[in-house]
Symmetry: C2
Subunit: 204 residues, 2 copies
Amino acid sequence: MACLDPMVMLEEVESMCIKVLLVRRLLLRTSCYALLRIYIYKGTTKKMKITREILDHSGKTMSLNEILTIDVKPGWKKGTKITFPEKGNEHPNTIPADIIFVIDEKPHNVFTREGNDLIVTQKIFLAEALAGCTVNLTTLDGRHLTVVINNVVHPEYEEVVPREGMPLPKDPTKKGNLRIKFNIKFPTRLTSDQKAGMKKVLAG
Amino acid sequence: MACLDPMVMLEEVESMCIKVLLVRRLLLRTSCYALLRIYIYKGTTKKMKITREILDHSGKTMSLNEILTIDVKPGWKKGTKITFPEKGNEHPNTIPADIIFVIDEKPHNVFTREGNDLIVTQKIFLAEALAGCTVNLTTLDGRHLTVVINNVVHPEYEEVVPREGMPLPKDPTKKGNLRIKFNIKFPTRLTSDQKAGMKKVLAG
């Protein structure tokens, strides 16, 4: 049997994009899917062209192009399903299958997501961890963020920047937190003088 | 039906002891088990008294006490099975079940085991991590071990002490390694002077 044309509307956007997986839940044991990359941080409306087989009055099969509109809400999560009921191919005496899009997150090269929070891991030198440092980040919507850290940064330290995470799906005016974790780069060697200096400073 | 008496030979020994789980693999859907704590680092011989039902010549059931001897080899691993074939209760027209002991490791309060290696996590202060430290340990067989560390200890640093791990089951004269991991305690606060001192020392 004919399968829905795999969709080719691939759109790679800058960051925190998602894959949309088209799953054809079939009564006929055949499935096809397409990947669609869209931007979930701000939300968007996506129009998807599908070609499906329908039956005319006489029961003859004909092809029909149709546009499905997906209203992607800011902050949508992995696993969110959008169902278009009975939009599969029509066949005599069977109910057409649903078309279901399943949201899947594509890994981002800077941020990871934990619920509504965004996590970023920053590499810093030990001197910065102890004496203070400044973290410069570009948010998903392209703003520059400068976070000044005066606390001592230890390996489990987390700097929480409120309301710089993902928008809450139920209320996109609110946002989760941005959590900065640290990977502290220790010196590989210290001279005897440095060791003595360290002891003195930390004992002081 | 009568079940084997749960064994009560509980013997708590100093360290790296294991639980021996008696599993009665039954043809008769009944099971009983006993826990036995023994010492696996040096190996031992363990005698286990069981009470089982046997059939006499006339087919009548009678109780019999029996001693099973387990020869625990140094370095035995979790999951090791010792089978005593057909030592379960006897019933007419059925083959008696096997008695199987399964070695299970009891968590030790200092060491954990990874294969043949022993792992210990040592808490040290940042000054020690940077300026050097000495780790004092008591081995599983009660020896005192002093490990001097001159390298800079970073959060992923591991000090490997060769041949102080668990004995190899196939050749107990050989041993795995002891691996010392570190949990570095950072100062919670530093004064401005300390921060300046840090920068100076680490830049030097």
